[in-house]
Symmetry: C2
Subunit: 195 residues, 2 copies
Amino acid sequence: MNSDFKTYLTQNANFSEEQYAEILSDLQVKNLKKGDFLLRSGEVCLHSFFVNKGLLRSYTIDKNGKEHIIQFAPEGWIITDRSSSFFHESSDLFIDVIEDAEVFFLEDKFFENLSCLSAEFAKSNTQALHNHIRNLQDRINMLLGATAEDRYLQFIKMYPDILLRVPQWMVASYLGITPESLSRVRKELTRKNFK
Amino acid sequence: MNSDFKTYLTQNANFSEEQYAEILSDLQVKNLKKGDFLLRSGEVCLHSFFVNKGLLRSYTIDKNGKEHIIQFAPEGWIITDRSSSFFHESSDLFIDVIEDAEVFFLEDKFFENLSCLSAEFAKSNTQALHNHIRNLQDRINMLLGATAEDRYLQFIKMYPDILLRVPQWMVASYLGITPESLSRVRKELTRKNFK
DNA sequence: CGAGCGCTTGATTGAGTTCAAAAATCGTGG
DNA sequence: CCACGATTTTTGAACTCAATCAAGCGCTCG
C-alpha cells in the first residue's frame, strides 16, 4: 500500500508490518466527491479526517449567512473540529470536499490506541496539537494587524500550493476579505511589480 | 496553604498531602509588581505562569508599533507562549503584569512529572490544550465576522470580571479596535438602552 | 498641585464593503 | 470538440464602518 497515510504513520512512529496491517484493517476509508459534506454545523464531530488524496476545507457561516473558511486540508493533512470531538459538543463547522478525495476516518480511539502502542506517536500527536495552536495564534495576529495586501502576501508564502488549487473567492474567505477586494489587491500587486 | 494553585491541583488530580508538599517545594513563586515583564518578544518562553493572585496579560507588537492583546490571565489562569516553550523557539509575545501578582513559574518538567504521577492530571492537561484551541477558534470567528459592537458585547458576556479590572484601551486592544471606537460603541449602547 | 494618563468628542480620511454589471473562464452535455 | 450556461473574476461607483488626527476634560498619584 502506497499512500500519504502510511508516510504519516512511518514518520511519527515505527510500527511493525503486522501492526500496520491491523491498524489499517480497522480503518474506514472513503472516496468522496467534490461538494460532499463530512460535517455540518450542529452535528457532533466524531472523526478526524486524514486526507490521503484530494482537498477538503472547513468553514463557518456567520449570522449574515457569510462563509468564513477556517482551514484548507490537502494531501497529508488532518482536518476536524477538535473541540467538538473532544468535548462531544455540537460543532459550528462545516467540512466539505473541494477536490474529489480519498479520506481516512479516524476516531478518538485510533489516536488513543496508537498512543499506547508507541510513545513516539503519542509525542508527535502532542506536537501536532501545539502546531495547531501556533497556526491559530498566527492567524489571530494576522487578523488583528495585517491589511488585505499583507494577508494575501502571507498566504502566498505559506500556502503557494493551495493557492493554485482553490478558487480565488475561497482564498478571500480565508483571509477575511471580499472576493472583490482580493481582486483589487492582486491588480495592485501586479501593477507594483511592473514598474 | 490556601491558594488558587492548590485548588487547581485538587480539581485536576488527587495527590496525597506528601505529594503536594514535594510538588510545592520544587516550585518557584514570585511576587511581581504592575509593569513587570515575564516574557519579551524575541526570548524563548521557558515557563507557564500560573496566576495565584493579580492579573497578567500577553500581547504582540505589530510592525506599526501597535499592541495587540492576546490574552488576559486573572487568578486561577495559566498564561504562556505554548509554541515557544514547546518548540523552544523565540516568542513573538510579551507577557507583563497589569495588577500586582503572585505567580507560580511552571516548567515543562512540572507538567511531565505530574502527568506521570496522575493520569487524571495528564487528562486535564490535554483538556486544557483543547480548551485553549477552542478559545482561539472562537476568537478567529469573532475577528472574521463580528462588528466592533458585537465584539464588545461578546467580551462583556465572556469576561465581565476582567472588564472591571482593566483600562478600556486594553479591552479595545483585545477586541482589535481603537480606544476611540470602543468609546463610541459604549456611548451608542447606553443610548440604545435608554429608549 | 500639576503633569500625565485615560476617556470622550468632533471632524476628516481611508480601507474595504456593497451593489451592479461586464468580462473571462470553466465544465458539461450534445 | 464545440457551444452554452454557470461560475468566477474583474471593474466601477457609492457607501460605511472604523481609523486617524486633534483637542479638551477629569482624575490620580507622585
